[in-house]
């Protein structure tokens, strides 16, 4: 019988591993130029602790350890970093800038063709708020994708503030109640614009707010989209986050990555812990998110330290899929070079050892072998 591995997991052989390494190196280099320092968090977390920071997807791997503690395999890196920052770095003088490359684990139903382990590349910027910090995250996301080698991608950004404001007013001033708010958030989370429009038509709600709620998701474009959104919600005084979004947009354009960025108020899904900016990254030919991010100013509070924070996470595997779609090959790097064979047949083994050491000293990968001397050997 062939020894199997669990579905949704995989071995990575040299050709793929070299490519992964090269992309990760390039992205990490770009992130470190912005002052982001590498960190690592444990593979396992305590479920109750992680849950405090935000709702976990129902698709986490859970297990009991020998002490009976309920643990979870890291489903993302944002919550672990928030936990870490609020505890070991509770007294650190901010701002803190972290980058990471870590595998994450998500349980997926069988027969859906999805991986259960994938690698996230990302950053968290902690202790900074406002447009400058938001723009840094968006621009850096664009820089990370460019460093990965992608030529064509779209970053869709918006703010959750406007929607939250509208929902607050509706719940406060009409009799719809918390159940309606939750239904609305669920519909947004599921990208169900039909249901958003249906709930917005609720007779108990002031029609102006209802119209704004159903019009909001189709607002999209450049700066004019922010203007359009303002025109829609200014009379209703539900403007939270819009000024910051406008300043962020200006900074993004000034940074020269405006061509990659679109304002899109349909990007309201999966904003459970987000409090302001939300970003989603897409590439043509890949029907799924390359990555996402945003601002989560209340998450650290849940772990005992109050600090604004924002960040993003990209999926290495989806970036590779996008690169393949766009016909972009791995850049040659030290990792892709094949080693030279130093023959132990023509040379004395001791001399071969010295010769190989010399080559390596010059930065040339070398192995000892029995092939013809100087032959390239495909490891």
């Amino acid at each position: 019988m062939i020894p199997v591995i669990p579905r949704g997991f995989k071995d990575v052989l040299p050709q793929e591993a070299r490519w992964r390494e090269s992309i990760c190196n390039n992205v990490q280099k770009a992130l470190s130029l912005w002052g982001y320092a590498p960190i690592e968090t444990p593979t396992l977390e305590v479920l109750d602790v992680l849950k405090r920071g935000g709702q976990l997807a129902p698709t986490t791997f859970r297990l009991f350890d020998a002490d009976g503690a309920l643990l979870v395999l890291r489903p993302d890196v944002t919550l672990p970093i928030a936990r870490m920052t609020a505890t070991r770095l509770a007294d650190a003088v901010g701002p803190l800038r972290f980058r990471y490359v870590q595998p994450v684990f998500r349980e997926e139903e069988s027969l859906r063709g999805q991986a259960r382990e994938f690698t996230q590349l990302g950053i968290e910027s902690i202790g900074l708020g406002g447009a400058l910090a938001d723009a840094e995250v968006v621009v850096l996301l664009a820089e990370a994708l460019k460093a990965a080698g992608l030529k064509d991608f779209t970053l869709a950004i918006c703010t959750v503030g406007v929607l939250r404001d509208l929902l607050d007013v509706c719940v406060r001033e009409s009799g719809v109640g918390e159940q309606w708010r939750q239904a609305m958030l669920d519909a947004c989370h599921a990208s169900n614009l039909v249901e958003v429009a249906r709930l917005a038509r609720d007779a108990r709600i002031d029609a102006r707010y209802g119209e704004a709620l159903s019009a909001l998701p189709s607002i999209r474009g450049g700066k004019e989209a922010i203007t359009a959104c303002r025109a829609l919600v200014e009379p209703l005084r539900c403007l939270d986050g819009l000024d910051v979004l406008e300043q962020t947009w200006e900074l993004i354009e000034a940074a020269g990555v405006g061509e990659y960025v679109t304002v899109d108020f349909s990007v309201m899904s999966s904003f459970d812990y987000y409090t302001g900016l939300v970003i989603e990254a897409y590439a043509p030919g890949v029907g799924m998110l390359l990555g996402s991010g945003g601002r989560y100013d209340h998450t650290l509070e849940a772990y005992g330290k109050s600090a604004p924070a924002a960040g993003f996470a990209l999926s290495l595997e989806r970036i590779m899929q996008a690169l393949l779609e766009q016909g972009i090959q791995a850049e040659p790097s030290f990792a892709t070079a094949e080693p030279v064979v130093v023959s132990v047949e023509t040379d004395e083994p001791a001399a071969a050892f010295r010769r190989a050491k010399e080559l390596r000293g010059q930065g040339i990968p070398a192995v000892l072998g029995t092939g013809k001397a100087g032959e390239r050997y495909d490891g």
Partner: protein, 238 residues
């Protein structure tokens, strides 16, 4: 329907909306059309939205129909969400029932208001409350369905313990031969239920056809959003 020549070759009309999008650069828009009961009305609304759907009128056994601007994939209704969610197609027409059962990530853009049907709970007319009796004695109901996700969600919401039997067709037979107490199935007119002497005891969900998009396509391809705007306009006109 807008003038077909307006957008020029390679872009579909409705598409003043299509400004700035070059079909030659973007490639053909990929659209899944469900086989079966939603098919003819799907083809009709896509045509009214300005797409060339002549090849879809009598496709025979062909599953892929290409035009200058679009590529239509004729797929099984229950598979539509998979095609959309995984980016096999950019957008599609799909019954709400299939969306609910698949529970995959798609953007639900327009309620097209056709293909109306209901999910109902039904039992044999002759059983006359035997299911309730069985539930009170045994604490469990046995329910046959093609739609386990929708059915279990419904019974969770009403707090009734059930044993689900997943079947692939002719669900009506399950209670008739005593294999299940009730069924949860789709009905448009109720004819099949009546002919098999089944009566509706509760309604689970109402379904209509929806226009749905792949999340990435909705955010990166203006043609999907433009098509949604057109379809919404057509629906509002009806």
């Amino acid at each position: 329907m807008m003038d077909k020549t307006e957008g020029g070759k390679g872009s579909f009309p409705g598409a003043a909306v299509n400004a700035g999008v070059n079909a030659a650069v973007m490639g053909r828009l990929k659209i899944a059309v469900p086989k079966g009961s939603l098919y003819s009305q799907s083809v009709e609304v896509l045509g009214r939205a300005g797409l060339d759907t002549s090849g879809l009128q009598n496709p025979g056994r062909q599953l892929v129909i290409r035009t200058d601007e679009a590529e239509f994939f004729i797929v099984r209704p229950t598979d539509v969400p998979v095609f959309v969610s995984y980016g096999g197609v950019d957008c599609a027409i799909c019954g709400k029932d299939s969306l609910e059962e698949a529970a995959l990530e798609v953007v639900e853009l327009v309620d097209l208001d056709f293909g109306a049907c209901r999910f109902v709970v039904a039992e044999p007319a002759f059983a006359g409350g035997a299911a309730d009796d069985a539930y009170s004695r045994l604490g469990i109901l046995r329910v046959a369905t093609k739609y386990p996700r929708i059915t279990s969600r419904y019974y969770d919401s009403v707090g009734v313990q059930v044993e689900l039997i997943k079947m692939h067709g002719n669900i009506e037979l399950a209670p008739l031969c005593g294999m299940a107490d009730r069924i949860v199935d789709i009905t448009a007119t109720g004819t099949t239920l009546r002919e098999n002497d089944l009566v509706v005891v509760d309604e689970v969900l109402r379904s209509t056809a929806r226009f749905v998009g792949n999340p990435a396509s909705v955010r990166t391809d203006a043609r999907v959003r433009n098509l949604a705007v057109e379809l919404e306009r057509i629906r509002a006109c009806v």
